[in-house]
């Protein structure tokens, strides 16, 4: 294993952990898992907290009630503080050794608690780092730079997380979280930054070019104006998109209120509407896919269909020629072969003494065999081409039938949705939420969304037209500027920057599609492996980062998954992320099986380690999670196993 791992974590007087307690976590060979088991309140989550405290100066996994009231514990161990008088302080620290196989970095953060008349007050010190250079350890001035290379703040939540809260990942507004996770973990940000910086360099170089004179200057000014105009259009588009997102979130809020109505009929209609909206999305996707397939089919079939008459005529001609013996050609290649073997041409020339004539005949033989082969192939190919064309035509007709069928269903869904809306608008339930008013607001918002979407379409069109104009002007300006020698170097620099930008943009588009595809494929496999139901699911990751989980009837279950199912989906997603990750950090999961019942626990224990086999994983588990079954399934992968023994508010880490 060459990935970074936590080699050890040392807790010194940190919360429940009294004195210095070093937890060795080094993994070896195939054993890449650590298990730290403890009852609720024993301090499992504080091991996760100790890591985030050391690295980022914050404890992010507070479980006040369950963990025995963390808020009541000061940072420094309470027993230690008991020994203090008022206004005296005590210090503690967390130290983490990181490396591939031996320590390369030692991160350390101290904290101080002061005993006051009213209780305790804690402060957190700065992050410190010792780095090994050859055999020596040297303090590092900028520890955050190193930490950010290993596990930046914005990414750490995908590596250090609380399994029990994972289900929240797929709650409302999750597409943004999915998108952020994918973009953050995959280093797409590096491409974005490079593009942004190259654009700024392009502007800077362009500014120097504004000093040109004459026609070049006029064209440059015109170009800049158009670019500015396009920028304004792009800003308008972003504004509209943000407004649409806000409007959609308002609709979700209204939907939630309607779903909570005391009237069963309103709740039912709301449920029906949810189903219909999902179906509408699905039908739109299906129609788009069918249209795309049809277009591809038409592109392939068009040349055959347009040339069908010519192909049929050629085929008839071939048949006729074959019948009259003209095909294959009258001069048979065996006849020429015989002449070559005899060494005498039909004209009487001696082929043994006349090399030129022999060569001529040999070439003729070669050519004739080729002609014959082409004729024979042609005869066989043409019917096949005609058949292919007819097959394509049949598929196009079938697709058009399917499109029309789905369009009819879509129209019906649309009508039913309008009916539901009209019925809700006429509801009068004095004791309930104001259904009628909510529905009217909902309709207004939907209308606004439609208007804004249409405006986005128009703005897109304007951006496209402006881009064409900008491209033309840019070319004209460059031609004009390049006429003068003194401008050549500047223009070359500009060209280089723009070409590099284009390359990076292309890479970004390709890699975004690849990353989405990889994530979808892995999520689909992991979810089906881990989920406890026998049904087969299809997990899809849409272009806008929505996740769909289709059951056997093609219904999207993402909105109705239970907390346990959502946790499995999130675990699948987190595991899929490691496959596209640009970071090779270790993973720590607190209560990984918290919301999972017995049967899936075994499946997860068996499968999850294999998905992440190149990564060190540390599980912080309760005894309810780390059952005999789970232990048996993990045993061949476990490198270190610890038990947290909690007594009189003090926890000791015992190696098992």
């Amino acid at each position: 294993m060459t990935n970074l791992q936590f080699l050890s974590i040392t807790l010194n007087d940190y919360r429940q952990y009294k004195g210095e307690q070093k937890i060795d976590l080094q993994i070896r060979n195939d054993r890449h898992i650590n298990v730290i088991e403890g009852q609720n309140g024993a301090g499992k989550s504080n091991i996760l907290n100790s890591i985030t405290l050391c690295f980022y100066g914050t404890e992010e996994h507070l479980k006040d009630e369950k963990e025995g009231g963390l808020e009541t514990f000061p940072l420094v161990n309470r027993d230690r503080l008991e020994e203090l008088d008022e206004d005296e302080t005590a210090k503690g620290y967390v130290e983490i050794e990181l490396g591939e196989n031996e320590p390369e970095y030692v991160f350390k953060r101290e904290f101080t608690t002061v005993k006051t008349s009213s209780g305790f007050s804690s402060t957190i010190g700065d992050l410190r780092l010792q780095r090994r250079v050859n055999r020596d350890w040297k303090p590092v001035d900028n520890p955050h730079t190193y930490l950010n290379e290993i596990l930046p703040t914005r990414v750490h939540e995908y590596f250090l997380f609380d399994g029990e809260r994972l289900h929240e990942f797929f709650e409302e507004g999750y597409p943004e979280r999915v998108q952020t996770a994918i973009l953050d973990v995959s280093h797409i940000e590096l491409l974005n930054r490079s593009l942004d910086h190259l654009e700024k360099m392009d502007t800077e170089i362009g500014r120097k070019a504004s000093n040109f004179e004459g026609e070049a200057k006029r064209l440059k000014n015109q170009l800049d104006e158009k670019k500015q105009e396009r920028e304004q259009k792009k800003e308008r588009k972003q504004e509209l998109e943000a407004n649409i997102a806000e409007a959609e979130s308002k609709i979700t809020g209204i939907d939630n209120k309607l779903r909570d109505s005391s009237d069963a009929a309103v709740r039912e209609k709301q449920e029906r509407r949810k189903y219909l909206n999902d179906r509408l999305d699905q039908l739109e996707d299906e129609i788009d896919n069918l249209k795309e397939e049809t277009t591809e089919e038409m592109v392939q079939a068009a040349p055959i269909i347009y040339n069908l008459k010519a192909l049929e005529y050629t085929h008839e001609q071939f048949a006729e020629l074959a019948q009259t013996g003209q095909l294959p050609p009258k001069i048979q290649d065996w006849f020429v072969q015989e002449l070559l073997e005899k060494g005498e041409c039909i004209c009487g020339a001696n082929l043994d003494s006349d090399e030129k004539k022999r060569q001529h005949l040999a070439e003729l033989e070669q050519e004739m065999s080729l002609v014959m082969q082409e004729n024979l192939e042609g005869k066989a190919e043409i019917p096949r081409i005609i058949d292919d064309g007819q097959d394509s035509l049949r598929r196009i007709i079938e697709n058009r039938r399917k499109i029309s069928e789905r369009q009819t269903e879509l129209d019906n869904v649309d009508v039913e949705l309008r009916d539901i809306s009209n019925e809700l608008k006429n509801y009068d339930l004095p004791e309930d939420v104001d259904v009628s008013s909510l529905e009217s607001q909902r309709s207004e918002i939907e209308d606004r969304i439609t208007e804004m979407s249409q405006e986005i379409g128009r703005v897109d069109q304007q951006i496209e037209t402006l881009t064409e104009k900008i491209d033309d002007l840019d070319e004209e300006w460059r031609d004009e500027a390049a006429k003068e020698d003194k401008h050549r170097r500047l223009m070359k620099k500009l060209d280089f920057v723009e070409e590099a930008s284009e390359e990076i943009s292309e890479i970004k588009q390709t890699i975004l599609a690849q990353i989405r595809e990889n994530t979808e494929e892995n999520m689909n496999q992991y979810f089906n492996d881990l989920i406890w139901k026998d049904e087969d699911y299809t997990v899809e990751l849409g272009e806008n980062y929505t996740v769909s989980v289709y059951g056997k009837h093609g219904d999207n279950k993402i909105g109705s998954l239970s907390a346990g199912e959502k946790q499995v989906l999130a675990l699948s997603f987190m595991s899929a992320l490691t496959k596209i990750s640009g970071f090779n950090a270790p993973i720590v999961i607190d209560t990984p099986l918290g919301r999972i019942s017995s049967k899936p626990k075994k499946r997860i224990a068996q499968n999850l380690p294999t998905y992440l086999k190149d990564t060190q994983i540390t599980f912080l588990m309760t005894d309810e999670e780390y059952t005999d079954d789970v232990r048996a399934r993990l045993q061949n992968s476990v490198a270190n196993e610890y038990q947290l023994e909690y007594l009189n508010e003090v926890t000791e880490v015992k190696k098992v």
Binding site: L198, K200, M201, I507, Q514
Partner: protein
């Protein structure tokens, strides 16, 4: 993959760029950006300018 490396998924695509100068230039700016990942708005103009000057001068 080293802790300071750019994601190999990205580098695989960069390696496919045929023009040596452009490929090396993009590799270098990505490495530069990776090293500045912790900064919200890193200073980049001098470094970029130097790299552009270095790699734009391919033989004509």
């Amino acid at each position: 993959m080293n802790k300071s490396d750019v994601n190999s998924l990205i580098l695989e695509h960069v390696d496919k760029i045929e023009n040596d100068n452009k490929r090396q230039f993009i590799n270098e700016i990505l490495t530069f950006e990776r090293s500045k990942m912790d900064r919200e708005q890193p200073h980049f103009k001098d470094e970029y300018d130097e790299l552009i000057e270095k790699y734009m001068s391919d033989p004509e």
